[in-house]
């Protein structure tokens, strides 16, 4: 509980963070940038978990636990994604989204 800052401020912040992530995910042309955008989305949700836990149920810890799980999974996910991007780069020497279209076939 941070004095002087209400839950609404923090929720507004995380919403902004979330939509920045979404915007980045949709518009970035680089796979690495998209990965970063995904991390933004995850971070927004992690903050939400912690905030809800702290402000609404101060005596319990579930939200914090979930945020730890999400951080762990996010780490694994980015490791996987980066390795995919690397092998992709080896294949076509590019990390641009438009070059991934050929995977359709």
């Amino acid at each position: 509980m941070i004095s002087g800052i209400s839950i609404y401020h923090i929720l507004t912040l995380t919403s902004i963070l979330f939509f920045i992530g979404v915007y980045g995910f949709i518009t970035r042309k680089n796979l690495i940038a998209i990965l970063i955008s995904i991390e933004l989305i995850l971070n927004a949700s992690v903050i939400n978990f912690v905030i809800f836990n702290t402000y609404l149920y101060p005596n319990r810890l579930e939200g914090v636990f979930f945020s730890i799980f999400i951080i762990a999974i996010a780490a694994a996910e980015s490791a996987l994604a980066v390795s995919i991007i690397v092998s992709f780069y080896r294949m076509i020497a590019s990390v641009a989204v438009k070059d991934t279209e050929t995977l359709k076939y």
Binding site: V22, F25, I26, T27, I34, V97, K98, T100, E101, T102, L103, K104, Y105
Partner: protein
């Protein structure tokens, strides 16, 4: 007594069919013919043995012939009551048919060794003959009506295959198609009849259907439709199938054309066995025909038979193709059998017609097969079917001459030949029922004698043709069957049929009606004498007589224009009128509808395929837009 071996009777020809059919390209024709004859001889012996066992040892219990189920197996099981069996049913008429089919088929197999020698597809011919024999055996021993129907169609198929044996000849192909389509059309009636009957009876089994104490006959006549009970309608429809197979008017048009097949085939299928399947069907279902609606359907049978016999007899007098004369003669004689069934009662002496029909079926099979085989022998010698290409052949072909004469005397009803006795019984039965029918059949007896001796004199007497090469007697494989059948045509009449076959299975004493027999024999003699005057030596009487008949002669010569009538009905009315509108509907509505659906799918997919761009950011965009839309929707609802 165990009759389970009787299952071999149909199975041996099936086996021969498979062997000869599968290896037809590898077998030497002599070997194939030998296999066919050997197989048929075995089944003939088995049939005769069965007949002996049944009639003289085990068949009769308390003076009533029993129905014996030789073997039976369930083929398709629907429910406890409704199942289709395959089996062998032995009773007097099925055993008699076994004897007829096996002996005629054996004779035809032997005869064909000579007649078909050197033909292309000799092995195929023997395979088809065996297929036919298998189907016919299975038809006559059917334990239930559905088995009969299956093999009924199968004999139709074999008939189709054998009529179209010379498949490079357009007329043969057309005749095969015609035979198949006409009989198949009639069989629609048969099938519907079976379905109606089994719907009300709850069984296909002949024994239950035919039981005079059975529920169907006593009370289960079902609801009535247009003044007749539903069962009666079913029987009429089944008779339609029988009439198609037996070439009864008005479904007779296929039989004359079926003569395009090889002559032994005509003898086997289109004279002795398959075409009498309709008679056999009515005889098989006789208790139903007799008891349902007071025998109304039997009257239809009788009048159709009588009319056909007269109608076909008149046409036969005008034809010049000897095989066609014989074909019309077959129709006429089957008309006799139908009539005899139609006028028959059920028990004791009243059941004379039933016995007479079976008797005539038996004797007719013998002498008509003989006539066909004799005609085949002549055709083999002069290479033509037409009477104008023959004449004076008695010097060249003595055996054919004498056997043909015997058969002609037999069919004309001259004592002591076979046809006399059976025809006499039919006439007696007809007289007891209706003088009109008797008068018709009596006249037909004279007509029969006339046209039969017309072709006899035309072939073996009359003006001698100048032959390209001297005709000679056929080889012994062809004359031995002729002699055997001639022997049968002489002695078959002395078989006391009423001892063996009766509608109620109780043997009775058939009285010899001296008046009727004198009258019928004398009209036969008159017919022969007229033919003698007309055709014994060349003169112009036939021409003058045919001129005197004028339009009627032309009419009869063209078979009363029935072929043309059918062509008109099918081509002009059905094809142009009815079928054209259906064709329009099919093309415009059904086809275009389907094409429209296909095109719509194609166009739509062409339009929406951009959606699947392969860019995951596009998918993500749609996903998020969708999520937002759903969120807004649920928010607005609250």
């Amino acid at each position: 007594m165990d009759f389970s071996y009787t299952v071999l009777i149909p199975l041996i020809p099936l086996f021969v069919f498979l062997v000869v059919g599968i290896f037809s390209n590898y077998l030497n024709p002599k070997v194939a013919g030998a296999i066919g004859v050997l197989g048929l001889s075995t089944t003939t012996l088995l049939s005769l043995y069965t007949a002996y066992k049944y009639f003289f040892e085990v068949g009769k219990v308390n003076e009533v012939y029993q129905t014996i189920i030789g073997t039976k197996t369930t083929w398709i099981h629907f429910s406890e009551v409704l199942h289709i069996d395959m089996g062998v049913l032995l009773d007097p008429i099925s055993i008699m048919m076994l004897v007829v089919v096996s002996s005629i088929s054996l004779m035809v197999h032997i005869y064909s060794l000579g007649y078909m020698k050197g033909e292309i597809g000799f092995n195929r011919y023997y395979a088809f003959l065996s297929l036919f024999t298998f189907s016919m055996y299975s038809l006559v021993v059917a334990t239930n009506i559905f088995q009969m129907y299956i093999f009924w169609e199968l004999v139709g198929v074999s008939s189709f295959l054998l009529i179209g044996y010379y498949y490079d000849k357009p007329s043969a192909v057309a005749a095969a198609k015609k035979a198949f389509i006409v009989t198949r059309f009639a069989d629609i009636g048969f099938l519907i009849g079976i379905l109606i009957l089994s719907f009300y009876a709850g069984t296909f089994d002949f024994q239950e259907l035919n039981n005079p104490q059975g529920s169907l006959i006593l009370n289960g006549v079902g609801s009535s439709f247009m003044g007749l009970s539903v069962i009666a309608w079913a029987l009429i429809l089944m008779f339609m199938g029988g009439a198609g197979k037996s070439a009864m008017f008005p479904l007779h048009i296929w039989l004359p054309d079926a003569m395009e097949g090889p002559t032994p085939v005509s003898a086997l299928i289109h004279a002795a066995t398959m075409v009498v399947a309709g008679v056999y069907l009515v005889a098989r279902m006789f208790p139903l025909y007799y008891f349902i609606d007071g025998g109304f359907v039997l009257q239809i049978v009788a009048y159709v038979g009588a009319f056909t016999s007269l109608f076909a007899g008149v046409i036969a007098c005008t034809q010049n193709d000897i095989k066609r004369v014989l074909a019309f003669s077959t129709m006429s004689q089957i008309g006799y059998m139908m009539l005899a069934l139609g006028v028959s009662g059920f028990s004791g002496h009243e059941g004379l017609g039933y016995m007479a029909a079976m008797f005539h079926l038996f004797t007719h099979a013998m002498f008509k097969a003989l006539l066909f085989l004799g005609a085949g022998s002549v055709i083999h010698a002069v290479h033509s079917n037409m009477m104008k290409d023959m004449g004076g052949l008695r010097k060249y072909m003595p055996i054919s001459n004498i056997t043909f004469l015997i058969a002609a005397l037999a069919i004309s009803g001259i004592p002591p030949f076979a046809g006399f006795f059976s025809k006499d019984e039919i006439l007696v039965a007809a007289l007891e029922k209706s003088p009109l029918l008797f008068a018709i059949e009596w006249a037909v007896a004279g007509v029969t004698a006339f046209y039969m001796f017309r072709i006899y004199f035309g072939i073996f007497w009359g003006k001698e043709n100048s032959y390209a090469h001297t005709p000679h007697e056929s080889p012994w494989v062809m004359t031995i069957p002729l002699m055997f059948l001639a022997l049968m045509s002489i002695v078959a009449g002395f078989i006391p049929f009423s001892e063996f076959i009766a509608a109620d299975r109780m043997p009775f004493e058939a009285h010899f009606n001296i008046l009727v027999s004198t009258v019928s024999a004398s009209v036969g003699v008159v017919g022969i004498v007229v033919a003698w005057i007309f055709y014994k030596s060349e003169n112009n009487i036939p021409e003058r007589v045919s001129k005197a008949f004028g339009a009627f002669y032309t009419w009869a010569f063209h078979k009363f224009y029935f072929d043309e009538l059918y062509l008109f009905v099918t081509k002009k009315i059905i094809f142009n009128g009815v079928s054209a509108s259906f064709a329009w509907f099919d093309k415009k509505v059904v086809d275009d509808g389907m094409i429209g659906i296909g095109n719509a799918t194609l166009n739509t997919s062409e339009k929406i395929k951009k959606l699947q761009s392969g860019k995951f950011q596009d998918y993500a965009t749609w996903f998020i837009l969708g999520a937002i839309a759903l969120t807004l929707y649920f928010l607005s609802k609250n």
